[in-house]
């Protein structure tokens, strides 16, 4: 039977080419895998949710609270189906797993990217994979954002109105763009079917295609090797093969990790659609994007309002805060591999402390993201009396620039100091060993 299959499918070639792929043995190399596992769980839970979800914003009678014949209680069908999902056995749980998995996928991807950045694994020949990784991050956030809108409760309704406004703020073409993307003027009659199409077809398709490309390139180029591999066998690939050593580790990790997420999905509720209620004209407080978009939200909060007319287009604070500024940040991240001019291929993961400037720049960047995310809580900071509305912007701006600068200098200083001490130690050891003989 094996022979029969092999004759037709050339399994032995597959075995040689892919299944024997060597995986480096180091825990930081699992981060990418965790991202992949989350994507798989997301797709499975997503399919289950899609089977019970009704993608429509036309009004239906709320079967849980029908009102009276004369005055029926009408809610959007999408919202109604979210209520129904919650009422299903384990339906609420399914939503929670899907939600938390999405958050963890982004978190794992971000930490994975940090690993790549700090060890220099983005260098030649792996630039393409850094760029694909960036695209994955962007499309993953877009997928998450569209997912937020689907329950179409009051929170989702307010979220999508803000996203619509941001799209519309693009100078010159914004109006057309927003109407094309969201099926007409907000809230168009077809907005939910449109977003549903994005969330379950278009964006996951893009994510899967990019993930496939990401991994094929990774298999072709091989992982960067951890430092120990250099001592073990110079310029040789060291690691455990996918079949049969890495597979059980992966399975174990996947199960353990999924189990953990399921466990805390059981205790931490998400997006309580019943609490927010159907779309309504009443203001809701505490509206915030997910943590990975909080920095954009913060930037929007501290950029003062202005409107500038250029050749008939309007450049607004909103456009600058939500499009231009994130565009610059993302652009800088895209440009990371271009900063490295080395001609040789990279084999070994670098020790971050051997590259103090890169390390310090990375730390400063993360610090800035954190400060901007804190700025996303400006309204709470003001209401809590920590800042006043008069000084909030100034203070937050100073922090946005100052904290990263301090972090940069401090990291550079500390790393230089450590290296100086280390070198002194080595000299010392050398001197002593001489004295010994």
């Amino acid at each position: 039977m094996n022979q029969w299959l092999d004759d037709r499918l050339h399994l032995s070639r597959l075995n040689d080419k892919f299944l024997r792929k060597a995986f480096p043995v180091h825990h930081s190399f699992f981060l990418g895998e965790i991202t992949l596992f989350s994507l798989i769980v997301l797709i499975i839970t997503g399919i289950l949710l899609a089977l019970a979800y009704e993608p429509s914003n036309s009004l239906v009678v709320n079967s849980f609270d029908p009102g009276t014949k004369a005055d029926p209680n009408l809610v959007p069908a999408a919202y109604h189906s979210a209520l129904k999902i919650n009422a299903m056995p384990f339906g609420d749980m399914l939503r929670r797993i899907h939600h938390w998995m999405a958050n963890i996928m982004v978190a794992a991807a971000v930490i994975h990217m940090m690993r790549i950045y700090f060890t220099g694994a983005f260098k030649k020949p792996r630039e393409i994979n850094w760029w694909i990784g960036m695209l994955l991050l962007i499309f993953a956030s877009l997928t998450a954002v569209t997912g937020y809108i689907l329950p179409y409760d009051n929170y989702a309704y307010n979220t999508v109105s803000v996203i619509y406004a941001i799209t519309k703020s693009v100078p010159w073409v914004g109006d057309w763009l927003a109407q094309a993307a969201f099926a007409g003027r907000f809230p168009g009659d077809g907005i939910i079917p449109r977003i549903y199409g994005y969330h379950i077809m278009l964006l996951p398709g893009i994510l899967l295609a990019l993930t496939g490309a990401h991994m094929l390139i990774m298999i072709k180029q091989k992982h960067t090797q951890p430092q120990y591999a250099k001592r073990l066998a110079y310029k040789k690939i060291v690691g455990v093969p996918l079949m049969t050593q890495q597979t059980p580790i992966m399975l174990l990790l996947a199960l353990l990790f999924t189990g953990l997420v399921v466990l805390f999905s059981a205790f931490i509720p998400v997006h309580p659609v019943e609490y927010y209620g159907p779309p309504s004209p009443d203001p809701i407080s505490g509206i915030k994007p997910d943590w990975y978009l909080l920095w954009v939200f913060g930037a929007l909060a501290i950029i003062p309002g202005f409107e500038l007319e250029v050749l008939g287009g309007v450049i607004s604070a909103e456009f600058v805060g939500a499009m231009l500024f994130p565009g610059i940040i993302v652009g800088a991240m895209f440009a990371v591999p271009m900063l490295d001019r080395s001609k040789d291929n990279m084999y070994y993961a670098e020790n971050p402390t051997n590259h103090p400037v890169r390390l310090a720049a990375g730390v400063a960047f993360l610090a800035m993201m954190i400060v901007l995310s804190v700025a996303g809580y400006k309204i709470e900071l003001i209401q809590g009396g920590l800042l006043t509305s008069a000084n909030a912007n100034t203070i937050l701006w100073i922090l946005t620039i100052g904290v990263p600068a301090v972090c940069y200098a401090a990291t550079l200083g500390i790393v230089r100091m450590i290296r100086a001490l280390r070198e002194a130690d080595e000299r010392d050891a050398l001197a002593h060993s001489h004295a010994d003989d």
């Binding site: 209680n73 307010n158 109105s161 803000v162 619509y164 406004a165 941001i166 519309k168 109006d175 057309w176 109407q179 094309a180 993307a181 099926a183 007409g184 003027r185 907000f186 809230p187 168009g188 077809g190 309504s280 004209p281 009443d282 203001p283 809701i284 407080s285 505490g286 509206i287 939200f297 929007l300 909060a301 950029i303 003062p304 309002g305 202005f306 409107e307 007319e309 309007v314 607004s316 604070a317 909103e318 805060g321 400006k378 309204i379 003001i382 209401q383 509305s389 008069a390 909030a392």
Partner: protein, 230 residues
């Protein structure tokens, strides 16, 4: 080196493929653009989506009282959310809730607390003191002009609004002028009067509501509305 320049068939073939690919890509992009053109549906203005029109009355928007006319006695410094309600062609009442900007917040303060604002910063303020009823009732489109969040009262000062999204602040007593945060314009006021115990709209929003880039954009839209609704 050969003396004769030989036509290399490889090159021509490569050229052909390049040209073919280029044309293919061009046609592809063109058709994609035309397909995208259909992604933006035509906008049909229905009475439900029309902006508030002279003669509309203000009705409750809260689910339990939806459609009931608002009485002055129900109003206070805490905003009451409202919709404008007008009539369609057949004369049936229609609540205009298809347009998010029609989400109104109606407040009541003592009449003499309102003041004409000094023009400040980026806030283009219009306060029509004659758009406030004798009882001090005033109505605004409750959509933050920054990114369109609905804005509740500031918990520390009910004469102010504090936007939960990016901390935009407005002063209710000065025509909803922006007094903090990123919003570019004051919240648009809806002039109203009191008639037979009902709040009646006397003209549509006096400044461009959220989603319109500037006053000119808003004026063009109003022209369109006039043409369609008559």
């Amino acid at each position: 080196m050969t003396r004769y320049k030989k036509q290399d068939p490889e090159i021509t073939r490569r050229k052909f493929i390049n040209v073919a690919m280029g044309t293919g890509a061009g046609v592809g992009v063109l058709s994609l653009v035309s397909a995208l053109g259909s992604a933006k549906p035509a906008f049909r203005l229905t009475p439900e989506k029309a902006p508030p029109i002279k003669g509309d009355i203000l009705v409750h928007a809260a689910a339990d009282k939806e459609g009931q006319p608002i009485r002055v006695s129900e109003l206070s410094e805490k905003g009451v959310s409202a919709w404008p309600m007008g009539k369609d062609k057949e004369g049936n009442p229609v609540i205009r809730k298809g347009e998010p900007n029609n989400q109104l917040a109606v407040y009541r303060f003592e009449r003499d607390r309102y003041k004409v604002p000094e023009e400040g910063g980026h806030a283009h303020v219009v306060l029509e003191l004659n758009g406030i009823t004798a009882d001090g009732v005033v109505a605004y489109s409750n959509k933050c002009t920054h990114a369109g969040c609905a804005v509740p009262n500031d918990p520390n000062d009910s004469t102010k609004l504090f936007c939960p999204c990016h901390s935009g602040q407005y002063d209710l007593l000065q025509g909803c002028k922006v007094i903090g945060g990123p919003p570019p314009r004051s919240m648009p006021q809806l002039p109203i009067k009191l008639e037979n115990d009902q709040l009646v709209v006397t003209e549509t929003f006096v400044t461009a509501p959220y989603g319109f880039l500037n006053e000119a954009d808003w004026e063009t839209y109003l022209e369109q509305v006039k043409e369609i609704i008559g």
